[in-house]
């Protein structure tokens, strides 16, 4: 049997487990804990319950998945820091449970011959099974990276808040990533138990969790290949050092802490000097870069993006909406209604509460009091991704693009809620996925063409000029197929020519029946496109009406120019 090869393969599995959460920008330290659960559960099922391996292994993996849901559901809705803390605690808890149940686990002495776990009964897996399982996982990750799910993860990785307003259920995806990570760690643990033939709770102590993390961090969490590289380097490097330099240096021969120290160093050095990990070096190879930026779009069509369903009458109603931050009231008892197909200019001095209003309607903030009705339904408690999926799109005053993704990809992310392909279809490689992806790309390219961005479609969005980035945001929001579009200072940072083109585009957009809310300080743009003005000052709505009447109102003039 090749013990070294088994260990390398198991570490590769563990690295993929760490990748799963890290890729979703979550720091989980639970891998060692789930590995322990998988290892002990499978060992107990095989040795004590007499299950065959092909049932015990999946059983153990399933247990890990259930436990991950119990841990993840409360914790993943919180800030990033909490997952690290909760999973660190979880790892310790698992070890305590193992030690306190000697009848089942062998307790502190471990699961070995002396505690009733026979080596022959335990030792069941063959290296080829590990290879096959790893290959299977790599296939899943490979398909996932190219699917809508993979794109959603990349968006979450770059900007979770913007991702949620694209209709991506960020908490849901993070839970999925955490459960997937637990399933893989559990499988790795079960393989470990049956490859080694005995278990010891110290195999799963906290330093193991850090080792596993170091594989993914050194390799890089941007692509599934990274962690595999990291696991390879960090598994083999200590062996090379010990066999190479160590053969002449006595101290190194018995230096059992060497792997841990190397892992710790790898973590610290990689995070400071190579934040993208080893895999980010591949971006410097031109062939890899063009491959990963390849565009696969169908022939261009002359279609115009129309709202998914043109509504009529009142679409949005705010009733006495108030939002305060600590002692500061950003919005105070704001009430108004928006009618379908009309364009509203939302104006007011800086700090009047305009962006707060957009954040409330798009679900990034919750109102302190009051009601928000979307086509008659109360949406104040809806998460941002649901609001986006129901037809409200927005752009940001402070540009929130996924800056590492290409312009085209950014716009395709906007289609997230409209693409129905799920992971199963993409794992099975069903034709539906290709069809939907091609359609989404065609539509995205169409939008980019109409906004004059076709030439930069394959550039990373972060590389574009300010004005271009604003237009990408508009294209991305339109890709969502919204019925209501909230534009937060779309012309900020644009020159006069760009602003004029934007005005023309907005006028064209009005014809499609889309309801628009435009926040702007360029008054000529506002006057040109708006059917109606809403004026905010110090968090209160001080005027609503046609541009002519509102701009003559004394309170409005006073708000802009001051008294006297």
């Amino acid at each position: 049997m090749n013990a070294d090869l088994d260990r390398l393969l198991i570490n590769a599995l563990l690295a993929l487990s760490a990748f799963s959460t890290l890729h979703a920008r979550q720091l989980s330290l639970a891998s060692a804990g789930f590995m322990a659960i998988g290892a002990y559960t499978s060992a107990i099922l095989v040795v004590k319950a007499g299950w065959p391996l092909f049932l015990a292994l999946p059983g153990a993996v399933l247990v890990c998945g259930v436990v991950a849901l119990i841990i993840g559901l409360p914790v993943l809705r919180l800030n990033d820091v909490y997952l690290a803390i909760a999973t660190l605690g979880f790892g310790e808890l698992v070890r305590i449970v193992i030690i306190l149940n000697p009848d089942w686990t062998g307790g502190p002495t471990g699961a070995n011959l002396s505690t009733g776990f026979g080596y022959e009964a335990m030792k069941q897996t063959q290296t080829w099974m590990l290879v096959a399982f790893l290959a299977f996982l790599i296939y899943l990750f490979h398909r996932m990276a190219r699917s809508r799910t993979g794109r959603a993860f990349r968006a979450i990785r770059e900007n979770p808040s913007a991702a949620s307003t694209m209709g991506i259920n960020v908490v849901g995806y993070r839970n999925f990533a955490f459960v997937l990570s637990a399933l893989i760690a559990g499988a790795a643990g079960a393989f470990y138990a049956h490859a080694v033939g005995s278990l010891d709770s110290t195999d799963f102590k906290f330093s193991r969790a850090v080792d596993i993390l170091s594989y993914a961090v050194l390799g890089g969490a941007g692509h599934w290949l990274g962690p595999l590289l990291g696991a390879g380097v960090l598994t083999e490097l200590p062996i090379l050092i010990r066999d190479g330099v160590g053969s002449s240096v006595d101290f190194l021969k018995n230096f059992v802490q060497l792997p841990n120290i190397l892992d710790g160093l790898a973590l610290m050095l990689a995070i400071v000097f190579l934040p993208g990990g080893l895999i980010s070096l591949a971006d410097r190879i031109p062939a890899w870069r063009t491959r990963s930026r390849r565009r696969t779009a169908g022939p261009p069509t002359a279609g115009v993006v129309a709202p998914s369903a043109v509504a009529s009458g009142v679409v949005l109603t705010l009733e006495d909406v108030t939002r305060s931050f600590g002692g500061l009231t950003a919005l105070s008892q704001v009430s108004f209604t928006l009618e379908a197909g009309r364009t509203y200019g939302l104006i007011g001095p800086n700090g009047a509460g305009k962006t707060t209003l957009v954040n409330l309607v798009s679900g990034l903030y919750r109102p302190t009091s009051g009601r928000i009705l979307w086509k008659g339904r109360e949406i104040r408690r809806w998460p941002a991704h649901r609001i986006a999926a129901e037809g409200i799109a927005r752009t940001y005053q402070n540009i929130q693009l996924f800056s590492e993704m290409t312009v085209l990809e950014n716009v395709v992310v906007g289609r997230h809620a409209r693409i129905r392909t799920n992971l199963v279809t993409s794992w099975l490689h069903l034709p539906q996925e290709n069809r939907e992806e091609a359609a989404a790309r065609t539509l995205a390219l169409d939008l980019l063409r109409r906004l004059g961005l076709e030439a930069v479609a394959d550039l990373p969005a972060g590389k574009l000029s300010y004005g271009d980035q604003r237009r990408v945001e508009i294209a991305r929001a339109l890709a969502q197929g919204p019925e209501l579009l909230l534009l937060d200072e779309p012309a900020a940072g644009m020159n006069d020519v760009e602003t004029e083109r934007l005005a023309a585009f907005l006028l064209e957009l009005k014809k499609t029946g889309l309801t628009l809310v435009v926040i702007e300080h360029h008054m000529d743009l506002i006057m040109k496109v708006s059917d109606e003005l809403l004026v905010l000052n110090f968090g209160r709505l001080i005027a609503q009406g046609s541009p002519d009447t509102v701009s003559r109102k004394p309170t409005v003039i006073e708000a802009y120019l001051g008294k006297d």
């Binding site: 920008r25 919180l78 800030n79 660190l88 305590i96 120290i261 973590l267 400071v272 941002a384």
Partner: protein, 308 residues
Amino acid sequence: MDLSLFLDPTYLGQNLVDGLSRGAVYSVFALGFTLIFGILDIVNLAHAATYMWCAFFGWIVLSVFGLPLPVALAASMGAGALVAIGLELVAFRPLRREGAEPLAPMISSLGASLILVSIAEAVFGSATRRFPGTVIDPKPLEFGGSGGLRVTWAQILILGVSLALMAALGWFIRKTRMGMAIRAVAASRKASQLLGINVNAVVMTTFAVAGALAGAAGILVGLMTNNIFPGMGAQIELRGLAVVILGGMGNIEGAVLGGLILGVVETFTIAYLPSGADLKDAVAFLILFLILWVKPTGLLGKSAGTRA
């Protein structure tokens, strides 16, 4: 649960004293977490490794050099401050740059922790070290004759030192210029920078204070459990994190309150639950998990932990 025991006032009092002195150590340790979280919004996951090294350092001062306890306490706090400053310079400061991954400082502190613990294992082995018996009078004070309340000198010292440290910290944070600067940086790093506060100096001072607290905790735990080994950090790390979450992340009063609560609950678990001694290690996790379910902002926390 044995109710007759619960009603016995001496037994209850005894457990309260034991629990509070245990909890006081947790508070001192957890304050280090909370201070760093307060100004940087991240958890220094090498705090427990710092504490472990300080305990060993105290052991060297006491056992190898045979110096008295106050010297060991001061030396250990100084060592803790130095280790923490080193961590700030190596693991945290390089990552306080524009566009850095938000999780990066926690990841690098994990790496630092793994290195510190591994070196300790290589240097000291896994054997347990103990403070010499002459450090403190082992004979407890007895109140109410035999069978009455027993308070050890170690407990008195632990409570005294902990309370003194917490009071000193409170004074430092509230009344000194540096304390005010720390609070300003905690409120907004950017605004503090614009106001001319040297943020790096403030952060480094905070690390020094947090490290000194880890050093004190190392000595106090040494007195309490008399059990010093490279893996000792893992035992208190989870407790410290449970304490800061219980009290509210970044909240100083919360860390004090949370530590005392955890100490008392652990002691009562041992005293009143069947096989409680085994369960006591799980108490911290259960409290941690419960509070994350019910009130993630903690008992005294204000800012919402929920993401948008």
